[in-house]
């Protein structure tokens, strides 16, 4: 009887901890209201431009890429998308996971994969968390910045995906932001971390 009760409590605690981890977003500021003038990334002059910043090793970003693929299935005509892979200039030997994410991103039709050495572009767009998505219109005004998954590493409908669709279809979304779930992006050598709120930040 006691063993059974202890087992039930242990299982309940385990699942509660797992769900809390999945549901806790990382702290993330909004992207700049205008496309940064000093950005080297290409902005489309006749369509909206979407950027998804990714840590190449982050497993949660796999779900973000799946959601991006779903988005592009319907919206490829209306948006030019890029996955910005943020990595150090010299990739550490321990970074063995990066190729898979890059290949996954490259396989999405209409998506270009760009390398961001030391997170310089990420810093310009205030991106601090892997899976952070920013959407700008053809004139360079921000339409949306945030995440596109419902919880950490979980595929499915999300506020972010709905708001991006609304913005692309010309409807005014209720908000232009949403929680981001992912690992912290790679630091530059000088220790600068692109615009992250460290309170509540979690990998």
């Amino acid at each position: 009887m006691f063993a059974g009760l202890a087992w039930a409590v242990a299982v309940a605690v385990g699942f509660t901890q797992l769900y809390r981890y999945k549901a806790e977003p990382a702290g993330q500021k909004a992207a700049p209201a205008r496309w940064p003038k000093d950005s080297g990334l290409r902005r489309s002059p006749d369509r909206a431009t979407l950027l998804l910043f990714a840590h190449p090793g982050c497993p949660c970003t796999r779900a973000s890429l799946s959601e991006l693929a779903r988005l592009m299935t319907r919206e490829a005509v209306r948006v030019a998308a890029q996955v910005v892979v943020v990595e150090p200039r010299i990739t550490p030997a321990s970074w063995t996971d990066s190729a898979a994410l890059r290949e996954r991103a490259a396989s999405i039709p209409g998506v270009a994969v760009v390398r961001d050495e030391d997170g310089l572009e990420a810093a310009r767009f205030n991106a601090g968390v892997s899976g952070f998505v920013v959407l700008y219109d053809a004139r360079g005004s921000r339409l949306f910045s945030g995440g596109i998954t419902p919880s950490r590493g979980h595929e499915g409908d999300s506020f972010g995906r709905r708001r991006i669709r609304a913005a692309l279809e010309g409807r005014a979304p209720d908000l232009d932001t949403s929680p981001v779930y992912g690992c912290a992006l790679a630091l530059r050598d000088d220790g600068h971390h692109a615009a992250m709120d460290h309170e509540g930040a979690s990998p």
């Binding site: 063993a3 087992w7 299982v11 996971d97 499915g156 709905r162 912290a184 790679a186 990998p203």
Partner: protein, 236 residues
């Protein structure tokens, strides 16, 4: 045979049939417990493999740590499988064993869904598990399994709805839609389980009758063997 002797013989057959049925039923339950012990052990290994393959590390910039999913697979998965496996080995056929197994199997569905990042395909584990649990031919076990699914959906639907339904802002009754499909599958499994037990009982009765018949024939032939041959009158 007198009426009393007939009644006694019938009662003996009924008792024998019940004993055969109980023995066969217990053997079935114990065997199913052992099957699940292997399945739960295999799921634990599989869960760890999924976590290591899909999400081995979490990253904080350049530094990496072991991902929470790996810990969940090892520790939570170990807890989920540990008690049911121990019960299956130490108390096979016990009613508590199969209910703990049923609860654990459905919680494994929830864990695997999370480890796989919410893939729709992993949800098939729920319905596959219900089918395997029907091997107990005990509708109460299916009731336990169904209750676990409903409770999980209800609780998570209130606290983290996106993790359950794949949509934001689900209606309050959404969990009923998921529960309906589980109840749909379980209803037919219950009917088939009850039918299967009825057949087991009928087989036990037939077996008992055959046993009684064969015993009776053996007794008769033994008597005949012991009696001397009747003397034939010499032909005149």
């Amino acid at each position: 045979m007198t009426n009393m002797a007939t009644e006694t013989a019938v009662q003996r057959i009924v008792q024998r049939a019940e004993a055969r049925y109980q023995a066969n039923h217990h053997a079935l339950l114990a065997e199913t417990d052992r099957l699940f012990a292997w399945l739960l052990a295999g799921q634990w290994v599989f869960g760890i493999a999924v976590a290591l393959f899909l999400s081995p590390h979490a990253w904080e910039g350049r530094a990496r740590t072991v991902h929470v999913h790996v810990w969940a697979a090892v520790l939570l998965g170990g807890a989920l499988s540990g008690l049911p496996i121990a019960l299956a080995i130490l108390r096979p056929g016990w009613v508590v064993t199969r209910h703990v197994i049923a609860a654990s199997q459905m919680l494994w569905s929830a864990l695997l869904i999370h480890l796989s990042g919410g893939r729709i395909e992993t949800h098939f584990h729920v319905f596959g598990s219900l089918g395997i649990l029907a091997g107990y031919r005990d509708w109460r076990v299916l009731g336990t399994a169904t209750s676990m699914v409903v409770a999980d959906h209800l609780i998570r639907g209130l606290l983290w709805p996106e993790s359950v339904y794949g949509i934001v802002n689900p209606e309050w009754w959404r969990f009923l839609e998921h529960a309906f499909w589980v109840v749909f599958a379980v209803s037919f499994l219950v009917v088939l389980s009850v039918r299967s037990l009825r057949e087991m009982r009928a087989l036990a009765e037939r077996g008992a009758e055959l046993e009684a018949l064969s015993e009776s024939e053996w007794r008769t032939s033994s008597v005949l063997d012991r009696e001397p041959e009747p003397v034939r009158a010499a032909a005149v």
